[in-house]
Subunit: 262 residues, 2 copies
């Protein structure tokens, strides 16, 4: 069941995909404002049996808030002790958008063959694997050129030296450039009609219009709706944390061939 | 007149926009390999009178080479003398992709309220206006946050201090983040069927698929085909100088709603 709002219809007009008659699936519903919107434009509403003919594709006009990730490190418990001392546990400083996750008071220095990055924030709680997430810009400074990966998939990635106040260590692998992805709850997934692993196509609404056509969907009960991009992606598209992007398609198919940009 | 190649047809198959029959405009031509390609797939070729019905939209499967611009400065003759001494003229070091343009041996230091950038390359020859082009990442380091602009449109942009070996100066305006754009000759423009000021939609073919939906077309007899992006855009999309992007639409309209990605 999809609930079609006036905002949804306005987005369809911008994209030139609002036909007459408007075909509605048997279990779809229009809000009262959406009904008025169509009536004022003399657009007829017709119920259809076939899902394929339905006018209102899921997600059109839906927005997703953006969270820009700065370089950071996740540490295993063993590596927390190695860098910060025996029996040390991470000190929560600020909660992150995803429930239970926090920016820790602790920071480390990353040292690559070409340079070092100081004050790199540790994110908690401790994980099973130590993983470093940097931007490609950071990589040029460090002299480390990691591939674009989803969190947790570190096989074959480069390593780096990590220096803390009580010790240092070298990881053999674990440095990645994070692949952009969207966190969502099962309820959000229902609304967007997507499954875990699907790819959303999103467009920015900024001075530097960009489209991210391969945003991986990650669904979990604990997740809050949030698109995670890094600083390079944020700067290339003039996005900052709290901005929204618009969903314009999924799995390689756009809802409309019209981008409706400026 | 459009010449339709086999590569063109292969791109259309990937995008699922190769119909049967294949409609050809009266003055369009198929290469011998393209004719074989269609015959092998039992696709009929039909001539049509109406341009609108033509199957092969211009630009599908066409690639544009990328040039990544590092931060740089264009100087007026007066400012060249101010920074490098009386009667100084710029020393060509390396020709740029656009004929007549060169990277000069000279560099300057940019000084903003938060930091400085050393060894910023001067591009020659001298222009009528001094203009600084930096990335948004550079802007955070300098503490200067310029808008995204096409070269030459500096009204209302921030200024900066510029230091050379023989003197320094402060410009009141002239710092921009360059808007991505493509240089092309009138012949290229004919092939892409675009006019000066049109907006191309291009897609990267990298590990970090991105779409730039608003690439401004700049046409000049002297121009060589080249898409200019900055380091933020390059890093956000894993592009480097010499890579190619694919044209997938123009002026807000995609050739197909299928992106044909991985």
């Amino acid at each position: 069941m999809a609930l079609i709002t006036e905002k949804h219809l306005r987005a369809m007009i911008v994209k030139k995909v609002l036909p007459n008659p408007f075909l509605l699936a048997p279990d779809d519903k229009l809000t009262p404002a959406a009904k008025d919107f169509l009536r004022e434009r003399s657009i007829e509403v017709t119920r259809t049996e076939s899902k394929d003919q339905v006018t209102a594709k899921p997600g059109i006009g839906e927005n997703i808030p953006v969270g820009v990730s700065n370089r950071h490190i996740h540490l295993s418990e063993k590596d927390v002790e190695m860098l910060f001392g025996f029996n040390h546990s991470l000190t929560p400083l600020k909660p992150l958008s995803q429930p239970g996750q926090f920016a820790a008071a602790e920071t480390v220095t990353l040292v690559g063959p070409k340079g070092a990055l100081h004050n790199v924030r540790v994110l908690g709680p401790a994980r099973s694997l130590t993983q470093v997430e940097i931007s490609r810009t950071d990589g040029f400074l460090l002299g480390v050129h990691p591939p674009v990966r989803l969190s947790g998939t570190i096989e074959g990635t480069p390593g780096i030296a990590i220096v803390g106040p009580k010790g240092c260590l070298t990881i053999e692998e674990g440095v990645i450039v994070a692949r952009n992805h969207v966190h969502m709850s099962p309820e959000d997934a229902k609304r967007f009609q997507v499954n875990h692993g699907d790819r959303l196509i999103v467009q920015t609404m900024t001075d530097r219009t960009s489209i991210f056509p391969e945003v991986i969907v990650r669904i979990d009960e604990r997740f809050k709706l949030d698109l995670h991009i890094d600083h390079d992606e944020a700067n290339a598209s003039c996005l900052k944390t709290g901005d929204c992007v618009e969903v314009i398609g999924k799995n390689g198919e756009l809802f409309s061939p019209f981008l409706g940009g400026k």
